[in-house]
């Protein structure tokens, strides 16, 4: 009986597809496709030139090979780089004008765009395949001078801001996937918080890959001006498909003097089936620049989905007294592979960083924490604390910890700790004696293991994340 229930639960909840007419660019990667994307988005010339510059650079770049998870060669000519719901080609003015099918999709995902009030005051930007389809709560944000819109809209309406900051954290020639994104990015969110403003609500983007053979290349740019604060949430799902789909997003954060950005992700892309067929390749570049003094950037991620996850949300601590934080839970089950971690680059004086990483591997999966802490000769009185804990469930999975530590400053301290453990039989027995079944017991113990990270998430996300932690591991206890 229990097994049947489990079987049901194990199925990917977000694995449905939606039948929607789409406009697609021709398959393949070439200048024409890039022009097509730029044109359909009515971009100014400087943006097109920027994309073409990235494309030139891409021609000489190689795909990185150093990461642990290996993947079959991707045919970049066999991907649609642009796919948009037909009905969104003219962007609807308000939510009521949206294609009802898209609304339905988001409702199934638990993101009822219409019933904003139920979302406890979170402003949502929904990205469907390649384009942003809806942004909620716009009026309330505009009042405060906050800009929260799709990046396409920002390119048209706020070119001076986009021009100044796009590529300022992730340069156009950074690495293969980041550069690919710069050439073909389709949509994503743009946030600007004016000086001294504390954003009154959580801002959120929900990403959804629907069409098949489609890559999703969104680009997010968040700028927190002097003395401002914003908390931003990102969630992702995709339908179940047998083939692998590529997701190569770029996220750039810029925090000016005394500003703070909190960026939270719950990533639950389709992980592939039990035998490792299908699933998303999640190759994402996320980087934050603490540009001003006393600025702070905090990354929190819960990574449970994707066939392969490969991402290192990083902080460049340039401003004096700036702070970088990275809190991560990564769970792999079945055939999933994840290579994730962070980079903390200390450039300014009195900069601080903290890394808390919890990795859980089960089934036949493989998990790597890879991180860099680099304190430069000028970053006096800086410090880093890193804690990496891994939990293994079974002896067919792997857990790896690969920290790179570079201390070039005698006035600065770096401390790193890592442990590997398993759930003890006795802990399980104790919980079962108190009436919990083994799945519940594992969920409880694993959530305890992840607690320090879960605490960092905004309330609404924390509840979802806790459930996800339990569901992701179902079927992994013998």
């Amino acid at each position: 009986m229990r097994e049947k229930e489990l079987e049901k639960l194990k199925d990917y909840k977000y694995g449905f597809t939606t039948d929607i007419e789409t406009i697609k660019a021709p398959k393949g990667l070439n200048e024409e496709v890039i022009k097509f994307i730029s044109n359909i988005k009515k971009e100014p010339e400087w943006m097109l030139n920027w994309r073409l510059k990235a494309f030139e650079r891409l021609k000489v770049l190689q795909e990185p090979k150093w990461q642990k998870p290996k993947y079959p060669k991707i045919d970049y000519q066999d991907i649609y780089y642009y796919s948009a719901p037909k009905s969104a080609s003219e962007k609807p003015k308000n939510i009521e004008d949206l294609d009802p099918k898209i609304l339905e999709t988001y409702q199934k995902l638990g993101i009822p765009l219409q019933e904003q009030k139920r979302l406890n005051g979170i402003a949502v930007d929904a990205v469907f395949d390649s384009v942003s389809v809806a942004t909620t709560f716009k009026d309330k944000l505009t009042e405060k001078g906050i800009i929260f819109c799709s990046i396409s809209e920002a390119i048209q309406k706020h070119p001076e801001l986009v021009k100044q900051y796009i590529g300022s954290v992730i340069p156009i020639n950074d690495h293969f996937f980041a550069t690919l994104n710069s050439a073909v990015f389709t949509d994503g969110s743009f946030v600007y918080i004016p000086p001294g403003i504390r954003c009154p609500m959580e801002l959120s983007t929900y990403f959804r890959i629907n069409a098949s053979d489609t890559g999703q290349f969104e680009r997010t740019l968040i700028i927190a001006d002097k003395g401002s604060y914003v908390s931003y949430l990102e969630g992702c799902t995709a339908p179940m498909r047998d083939e692998n789909q590529l997701h190569a997003a770029n996220v750039e954060l810029v925090a000016l003097d005394d500003a703070e950005i909190k960026y939270s992700t719950v990533q639950n892309w389709y992980p592939g089936d039990k035998d490792g067929k299908g699933g998303i390749y999640n190759f994402v570049t996320k980087r934050g620049l603490c540009k001003g003094k006393n600025s702070k950037i905090s990354w929190t991620q819960v990574e449970t989905g994707s066939a392969i996850t490969w991402k290192y949300p990083s902080c460049i601590l340039k401003g004096d007294n700036s702070i970088g934080e990275f809190y991560s839970i990564a769970i792999t089950n079945n055939h999933q592979k994840a290579d994730t971690g962070t980079k903390m680059i200390h450039l300014g004086k009195n900069t601080k960083s903290k890394i808390i990483s919890k990795g859980i591997s089960a089934g036949l999966s493989d998990m790597t924490y890879r991180g860099l802490v680099d304190i430069s000769p000028k970053a006096n009185n800086s410090n880093n604390y890193t804690q990496c804990d891994s939990l293994l469930m079974g002896n067919k999975c792997g857990a790896h910890t690969v920290p790179y530590i570079k201390n070039k400053n005698s006035k600065s301290n770096i401390a790193h700790e890592a442990t590997t453990s398993k759930i003890s039989e006795d802990q399980l027995y104790y919980c079962q004696q108190r009436g919990l079944n083994s799945e519940e017991a594992v969920g409880l113990i694993v959530n305890g293991f992840c607690k320090e990270v879960l605490q960092q998430l905004p309330m609404e996300f924390a509840v979802e994340a806790q459930k996800l932690v339990g569901i992701s591991l179902e079927g992994s206890v013998g």
């Binding site: 002896n395 999975c397 790896h400 530590i405 790193h416």
Partner: protein, 415 residues
Amino acid sequence: MEKQLKNDFEKIIKTTNFSKETIKIKENHLNQFIATGFPNRKLENWKFSDINQIIKKNIGDLGFYNDYSFANKIDPSIFIDGIEHNKIVFINGRIEKIDFTYEDINKIEILDQDQLENSIKYDNSLISLNSAFTNKYYKIVVKENYSLKKPLIIYQTSTKNLKYKNINLRLDFLLENNSCLKLIEISDDNSRKNFTNTFFNFELKKHTILKNYKIDKKINDNIKYSFNNIQQDTNSISETFILSSGSNFIKNEINCNLNGKYSSAFINGIFSLKNHSHHEIRTSVNHLIDNTKSYQLIKSVLDDNSKSVYQGKIFVNSKAQKTDGYQLSKAVLLNENSEFNAKPELEIYADDVKCSHGSSSGNLNKDSIFYLMSRGLDYEQSKELLINGFLLEVVEKITDSEIRNLIKNLIGVKE
């Protein structure tokens, strides 16, 4: 460099009498080295120490030919006083003396290894270089149930006239069941600007103990690489201690395979660096069966523009349940130009294991200095006292008391 390598290789073949098979194997190694060259920072293992650049910058062009037809004279003043010991003396890469005076002659066998096995496969071009150019080498066998009465000291020395040369050393050790060997490697160089490439193999059979103390103390401007490969059978113990201090550059690599149950490996090291020296220790301990144990403790004290690197890897395969693996590295940076790099790595495929690592680096604890100064010590005294205590913890790990005292005297650590 290719031309130089080929010419020097020809010269060696002419002046020695290796068998045809050996020459063939050596040629293969030569070609392999020519294909890859010296390792550079693009290789993960050499990320922190680009030896290709280091050789280029500090030495320039290297010669690979050494004339081994003449014996060098041994200067007895190099021998360590106050501790009775057996000796092997290398001068400029040539073995000048093998002396097991203190031992039962039937219990130690010295095999002349002019034939290289072809089976050694390492993804390491320096081992290819070593295999191509090494002179004939020996395999030292410690017979079953025999424990050497006195330690064996291997002196690696070089003379003033040696310059811009590559020297390759090789020794193999076999410890038969229930045997025991204490080994001290001391480098004592008078030469300048050479590249020494040392490759030692250890095969530890059941219930054996190997204690290996590697001492690099004398200041010199040579570039060095040393690779110790240790294979361990059931219930064997290996203890490696590294004092990394005197050379301009040295990278000590320890690869340890725990193949037998209840085997254990201990690796402890001290970097005590000044000036522009740049040293690295890289370990990989492979737990390949259940119930094995490893422990590593590496400490650095870095002054001036010096730099130390510790790359330590613990690998646990899926069979190796009940593994106990521990790794700790600590560094004190005394000068604003000094640098500490670490990559403590865990790669684990079994769930019932206890593995952890820790790393910390920074300056001396200000509160401790303040406390000591409030008791009347001046700043320098306080600093010295703290460093002394910091390093003492590693020295205390040395299990042989005679050698522990010897090393304490060598680095001036007081109790």
